[in-house]
Amino acid sequence: MSRSYYEKLARIDLTAGTVAVEPLELEKAQRYIGGRGLGTKILYDEGVATVDPLGPDNKLVYITGPMTGTPSPSSGRYMVCTKSPLTGMIACSNSGGIWGAKLKHAGWDGLIVEGVAKEWTYLLVDDGEISFHSAEQYVGMKSEDMDEALRKVHGEKASVLNIGPAGEHQALLAAIINDKDRAAGRSGVGAVMGSKKLKAIVVKASVGHVTTLHDEDALKQATSRCLGILKENGVTGQGLRAYGTAVLVNIINNIGSLPTKNWQEAYFEAAEKISGETMAETCLVKPGACFRCPIVCGRIVKLNDGKVCGGPEYEPLWAYGANCGVDDLNAINVANMLCNEYGLDAISTPCTIAAAMELYQIGAITEADCEGVPLTWGSAEAIVEWTRRMGAGETELGKRMAQGSYRLCEHYGHPEVSMSVKKQEMPAYDARGIQGIGITYATSNRGGCHVRGYMISPEVLGLPQQLDRTVTDDKAAWAKTFQDLTAVIDSMGNCLFTSFALGAQEYADLLNAATGTNYTVETLLEAGERIYNLERLFNKAAGMKPEDDRLPKRLLEDPIPGGPSKGMTSKIALTLPQYYEARGWVDAFPTEETLRRLGLAE
């Protein structure tokens, strides 16, 4: 029976140079849906939690969801699951573009890559055939050039995923880039690829669709209903296409929760200059979309020197902009492009530059350390040149910064300057001004992150309903539900942004039509809960401690000094116990009873 899984995984051993085809256990796939859930399950079952993240025993799981590559909306997502060298915990980085859809169309649910290649290698997935090729001649090549070079060899229709120089030198902030400017950005997944001497994976598929759908007509109907809802919704219908995620700059600044100068402030006077509105008026060439996406949130921008390239999302705009005190939009566009070219996380990289700027402000980093490019607040030159140095692994300080703000700040004796959770930098929303997002940050299994339970939706955007951002009431339960639903959407292989308009029922309809499952809203959210708890079990096995669920001291002790949210601090001490109770956890980990309820007990 057809079920939108190809029921086929490739186990690729780089040490031995072999490929083994493994069947996907259908029952396991359906319990964990696919993508993020299934990838984590594979890693957990194979004991990856305890290995050295940059050693030969770590594994990289490139995995699709059952909806990836199907006609359902925004279905180009794939995930890279591995043990993170940045956090030492679970990593699951999600990316769009077309690579994931092609992998699926080529007939694979996922690739499990293990071992270490003898020389720099790239893989070619050509429908059912997987082959090894030398990548020695491409060492040092930037992502975009690599993409072009490999498509010259394997044809324009091939899709390329690769690491740039940052991944090669195992920078802990290294990302994996696909289709030139799409990134599986977070948690250092690019460094793991570098540690395996795997430079790229090229995918070619001779068909352009998934051939194993359970009920094509039902999927068509569910899809057309979803497309209607997405079109009618102001955010997914017009808002994101017109301004991209960058429209958030002005929103978040106007509520006084735009972290500024490494979170020392929360209101940026010059926000307008780096906003989505300014981008649309000045450098935006056109919007861009991933596979089968009606939302079209991507930005194609023109730099001052005439180059046209992928433009920044809200996160890098904020992180290079307000967080570094920079109001030069072109410099941010250039720095963002360098993140893509060198293969760096476009959130953690600028956040680490911001932390370095604070270390420079307090005199911990000296003029001499800066080797000609002082880390002064507001310096357009600094954000561009330090991104390049981090990517290329140049200068002592640049190399250190490429390991992330936690290791940087600890080295200089100021760990409190690193605005990170579980050693990963927090994103663009101040958890002092928006109480619920702090729960997401503190409890995210992959460290500081907003897309593990996007509380900004209800607390700021009023979706699906408006919550008061300043209070803690009910936020724990909301955060849990958002986390669980997000785990579902990621695992399905649809883009999280569809959830501005779609609800759990729509996802259940899509999934049931494609795979033949009988998920209800309730059992679907329970599957998400199962995935979230499994990630937590992985982290526990990896050595996570209860005190790792915490926010930086600054958010608890230093009230926001000015702007609309003046005087506010995070009340996470109040909400965290409520959250654990809602989850059925004690001291940050699931109880036996919770594990039994979710079918996770040993």
Binding site: G234, G239, C297
Partner: protein
């Protein structure tokens, strides 16, 4: 004076910022009427940085920020 800031598509055919005499605008509805912004086009209405209904009472010195449905992540 009131400072009224408009964003995203609400700027089409309008200014980015208006300074209005507070005396003539007792509440948000008066501001929307004056600027010909249909209530349905307003997704976020902020008074001094806090979400309020569009008919919220206004006072001299207030900053009002108005956004259409929009978002990101």
């Amino acid at each position: 004076m009131l400072e009224v800031r408009l964003f995203a598509t609400l700027r089409q055919g309008r200014e980015k910022v208006y300074h209005l005499d507070a005396a003539g605008f007792p509440d948000g509805t008066a501001v929307l009427d004056h600027l010909h912004i249909p209530k349905e086009e307003v997704a976020i209405f902020l008074r001094n940085g806090f979400h309020r209904p569009t008919d919220t009472a206004l006072a001299d010195g207030d900053i009002v920020a108005i956004f259409p449905p929009t978002g990101g992540g």
